[in-house]
């Protein structure tokens, strides 16, 4: 029931729109089924499944808007919800930044729905957890993991002619494997739209290997090192940069993309010329939603091309004020890479540090995008193209902008948290202290 077809969703939305007497009216209908299983100490701790189907109605008079929601769908309930939204709108203060609703839009086709994921049941989840716990138990390792699957749809419509519908599925899996004495720890994460691509057993093998290989870590002096960031580690710093590409903040001079005198870095070469980052909802490996929450189409957008800042994202209000295209913020990104694998990058490294993952990343300086955080769950010293020994975790203080100017090599992108991210080899990455944490 939670996933309505396009036709079923449109029927409900049209009914809602017909009930309204407001200047503008929009309806957003969404349904989700979310399941999860969590385990720790090689035993399942919690698992559950929730269903949700809800309708949100926004009515607008002039620059006043009001929203009401409901999860019952008979005619009387729908009409009541429309009236409630209208009442709230009439009482609301004017929003000086209100922009009228969009009319009909063209959307790209994306394919983010997989029946294999929509069909996941409690037995599947238990098996997935078992497939991860079992090999760990056998080798006296301890697994703590989490898998969450989601299938759902979103439909938008308004009285200006806009209608949008998308259905999607996703499955996210991660596991931390620790040695029984707590001196080794490894991690792996996987995410897909299509659950048939997920094998928790083979994924867990990687975390197990890292746990075993990270025992008896040696302490290296903090300082500047060549690092190879696995995609999971690279992802976290790069996505933090992408989240700061709001054009208004840049125009206002309070972003890493701002400059003195109200100028921005748009059009400037800010990163190494090998860095090209774009987003594309139709990418078959990381399909996104064809539309943003307000109905704006998501299209292919290049954010950095050969290191040059090509686009920023905007609210519709600010874009109109500045006379620029109101590009919405992207769902996920594609960091264009080469053909080298992680193993190839290691092989070509004389001296360096392999980083599995970062942890507790926080902004230190929003102007330079300086972040701090730590390595975790598998940090290794590389010499003459080989992993030599595990090293103790480091705290870093580094900016993705500086890091992406110190690029040595870019590997082949792999799907990581909804984006395509390559492993990166970076020189002079700044580690500022050691951590005893395993």
């Amino acid at each position: 029931m939670a996933i309505l077809t396009k036709e079923e969703a449109k029927k409900i939305i049209d009914k809602v729109l017909a009930f309204s007497k407001a200047d503008e009216i929009s309806a957003s209908l969404s349904g989700n089924r979310t399941g999860n299983i969590r385990y720790a100490r090689n035993s399942v701790s919690t698992s559950g499944e929730t269903y949700d189907l809800s309708l949100s109605v926004t009515a607008v008079y002039g620059k006043k808007s009001g929203t009401a929601t409901i999860n019952e769908f008979d005619d009387a309930s729908l009409e009541k919800t429309v009236r409630r939204a209208e009442e709230i709108a009439k009482l609301a203060p004017d929003n000086p930044e209100y922009v009228p609703m969009l009319g009909a839009q063209q959307y790209v086709n994306t394919n983010a729905f997989a029946q294999s994921t929509a069909g996941i049941d409690p037995e599947y989840r238990a098996k997935a957890a078992f497939g991860s716990i079992e090999p760990c138990s056998k080798k006296n390792l301890t697994a703590a993991g989490y898998m969450e699957d989601r299938s759902g749809f979103t439909a938008l419509g308004n009285n200006k002619g806009l209608f949008a519908y998308n259905k999607s599925t996703s499955v996210d899996f991660s596991v931390t494997v620790r040695t029984a004495d707590g001196t080794g720890s490894g991690f792996v994460q996987r995410d897909y739209n299509d659950a048939s691509k997920l094998n928790t057993n083979t994924a867990t093998e990687i975390a197990m290997q890292k746990a075993l290989a990270s025992v008896n870590a040696k302490a290296l002096e903090p300082g500047k090192y060549t690092v190879i960031l696995e995609p999971t580690a690279a992802h976290d710093l790069i996505l933090n940069m992408m989240r700061n590409m709001d054009g208004r903040s840049a125009d206002e001079g309070r972003s890493f993309l701002g400059k003195k005198g109200g100028q921005t870095r748009l059009g400037e070469k800010l990163l190494d010329e090998r860095v090209t980052i774009y987003s594309d909802p139709a990418n078959p490996e990381v399909p996104g939603s064809p539309f943003a929450n307000d109905g704006r189409p998501q299209e292919k957008v290049t954010w950095f091309e050969k290191g040059v800042v090509k686009n920023m994202y905007f609210s519709r209000f600010w874009a109109e004020k500045k006379g620029v295209k109101a590009i919405p913020s992207p769902d996920g990104i594609v960091f264009q890479g080469g053909s080298e694998s992680l193993a190839d990058l290691i092989k070509s490294t004389e001296k360096g540090i392999l980083v599995t993952r970062f942890w507790y990343i926080r902004t230190v300086d929003p102007q330079t995008l300086l972040y701090t955080g730590l390595t975790r769950d598998g940090t290794f010293y590389i010499e003459n193209g080989q992993i030599k020994y595990p090293v103790k975790n480091f705290r870093f203080n580094e900016s993705p902008v500086i890091m992406l100017n110190n690029v040595e090599a870019i590997g082949k992108p792999v799907r990581t948290n909804g984006s395509l991210i390559p492993p990166l080899k970076i020189r002079d990455f700044t580690f500022t202290s050691l951590s005893d944490a395993v």
Binding site: T69, N71, R178, W359, Y360, T363, V364, T432, S435, A437
Partner: protein, 537 residues
């Protein structure tokens, strides 16, 4: 993890529930007799299906937040969420089911049956049966936060006018931009269990905050200064400060009443001053940490590592584990900090975010020592963990962020006890040769076992030969938890004691949010490593 980042405001999934008009907040929820009928239906159904224990939480959660920038209201969000969660033990295993907008006994009985079915299914994968610490029933009882003025009864216009006047004061005093927010929460919770408790509670929380930005047009550099307010377990009365709530000094700091207008005025001037402040020279300094800053260091380096579920490995895949392992506690001589360091867990302190009469599994709340005279003496444990540390009862720190979430161990208020010897901040600073005085919380990061951390602040003042020598910028300190707390040489007396706290502390998968306070007086830490965070891009 404390959930709200520095710099720009990042709103977490705060306002869950359906949007409502503000007047809906003033409607009473279901009466107690009705809630007892619903709860009994669930408890009886659970027992009849074979549960050895069951509890029911009927929750009505009200949230309101008002956001503004400069002279504009950005958003006013009012939400209400109502439903029931039923938790059972059957065949020695936990099971949970929840139902939205539950209106009748049949829905509750069905949820209880589902919870029992889930428990029985999960029991097949279980390694050890759940052991619950005994808990007596309290009969029909209630608890209300002792607030003076219910924030939900204050007209929206008054709140909007306050925030816009705060923004106006900021802009007139040199800010280029200002954002301000008022968060308000009311949890109306009813708990019943097969132990014979029927507990009705009314909890209020409030957090006014702002962030001002000052830009130097010559260089394009910008600096921010965030409010020195604390989220509190109070009503709108927190915003009605009186002189007794203010501590004057290099900047005014606040206790149980907050003067937002005054703080915004100071913040704008200080953000401008930061633009030309001296960049810190990296090295070792004696740190004087104000309670508006120290709360977050306590939260991350004491509150989280002493959560027993982390210590045992239940959070290994997300928040992490803990350096404070059971053997260190068992040794009875693990020197967590210096002799000056007494860290206390508490669920009763008036005005704190953690205060309730009973926790979310019907345990009456209390206060207990975590670190006494520097030695690790205890953890935070709930009913199904108490036996692991040889305790006969739970500490009463179980919490769920919604009727639809499963309750689990959450951090109580964890506070540094005030010094016993009379000592003011001025007297403390007088003895410092080379130091930095830090006020307000800033950037924060700590490893997954809670050894290595780095913290920034809002305001940094250089101390030279016992005197404040001027403002610094680009400051962050790095240390190791045990080293840091052992470098604590002095804590000011109770005259300086204040609360800070987190409104959005995250834990668990799926993640749940909780609110927690941390009190302290200003404290001195000797020889801490300070780094310079200035970079060029």
């Amino acid at each position: 993890m404390a959930g709200l980042g520095t710099g720009a405001f990042m709103l977490p999934g705060f306002a869950t529930g359906r949007p409502v008009s503000p007047e809906a907040f003033l409607m009473p929820g279901d009466d107690v007799a009705m809630k007892k009928r619903l709860a009994d239906a669930a408890l009886n159904a659970a027992k009849s299906k074979g549960a050895s224990y069951a509890d029911v939480r009927i929750g009505r959660y009200l949230n309101q937040y008002v956001t503004t920038r400069e002279d504009k209201v950005e958003n006013i969000v009012n939400t209400e969420s109502y439903g029931v969660g039923v938790r059972v033990i059957a065949n020695g295993c936990w099971g949970f089911a929840a139902v939205v907008d539950a209106k009748n006994e049949a829905q509750l009985a069905k949820a209880a049956e589902e919870a029992v079915a889930i428990a029985k299914a999960n029991a097949k994968l279980m390694k050890e049966p759940v052991q619950l610490a005994p808990q007596k029933g309290f009969g029909e009882v209630s608890w209300k936060a002792p607030i003076k003025k219910n924030a939900f009864e204050v007209p929206i216009k008054e709140k909007v006018d306050l925030l816009l006047s705060v923004n106006d004061a900021a802009m007139k005093n040199g800010a280029n931009y200002v954002n301000s927010i008022l968060f308000q929460v009311n949890e109306q919770k009813y708990f019943a269990s097969t132990d014979g408790s029927y507990i009705d509670q009314d909890i209020h929380r409030i957090w006014p905050l702002f962030n001002v930005t000052a830009i130097d047009p010559q260089t394009g550099k910008f600096e921010t200064r965030r409010s020195l307010s604390a989220p509190m377990g109070m009503g709108y009365d927190y915003l009605q400060s009186n002189p007794a709530d203010k501590l004057t000094g290099v900047t005014t700091r606040y206790n149980k009443g907050y003067d937002m207008l005054e703080d915004a005025t100071a913040a704008s001037q200080q953000a401008k001053e930061k633009l030309t402040a001296k960049s810190v020279e990296a090295g070792k300094y004696d740190l004087i940490l104000d309670p508006s800053h120290l709360w977050l260091t306590i939260h991350e380096s004491v509150g989280h590592p002493l959560e027993l579920d982390r210590v045992l490995g239940y959070e290994a895949n997300f928040a992490g584990t803990s350096f404070a392992t059971l053997d260190k506690w068992q040794s009875k001589n693990f020197q967590y900090g210096s002799k000056q360091v007494n860290l206390i867990a508490d669920k009763t302190q008036v005005g704190s975010l953690g205060a309730v009469g009973w926790d979310d599994e019907g345990v009456n709340t209390k206060q207990w020592d975590l670190v006494k005279d520097g030695i690790l003496v205890n953890y935070q444990a709930i009913r199904d963990q108490a036996h692991i540390i040889g305790a006969k009862e739970s500490h009463g720190c179980c919490y769920a962020d919604s009727w639809s979430s499963v309750q689990f161990q959450r951090m109580p208020n964890v506070s540094l006890a005030a010094g016993k010897t009379p000592l003011s901040v001025e007297e403390m600073i007088k003895d410092v040769k080379k130091g930095i005085y830090i006020i307000g919380d800033g950037s924060f990061s700590i490893d997954q076992q809670r050894y290595n951390f780095q913290f920034g602040g809002q305001l940094y003042y250089e101390i030279k030969d016992g005197k404040i020598a001027g403002m610094l910028k680009d400051v962050a300190y790095q240390s190791n938890t045990q080293e840091f707390w052992n470098s604590c040489v002095q804590v000011c007396d109770e005259r300086d004691y204040r609360l800070g706290g987190s409104f959005f502390d995250g834990k668990g998968q799926p993640m749940q949010s909780s609110a927690v306070s941390h009190g302290s007086s200003t404290a001195r830490f000797n020889g801490v490593n300070v780094i310079n965070t200035a970079r060029k891009i």
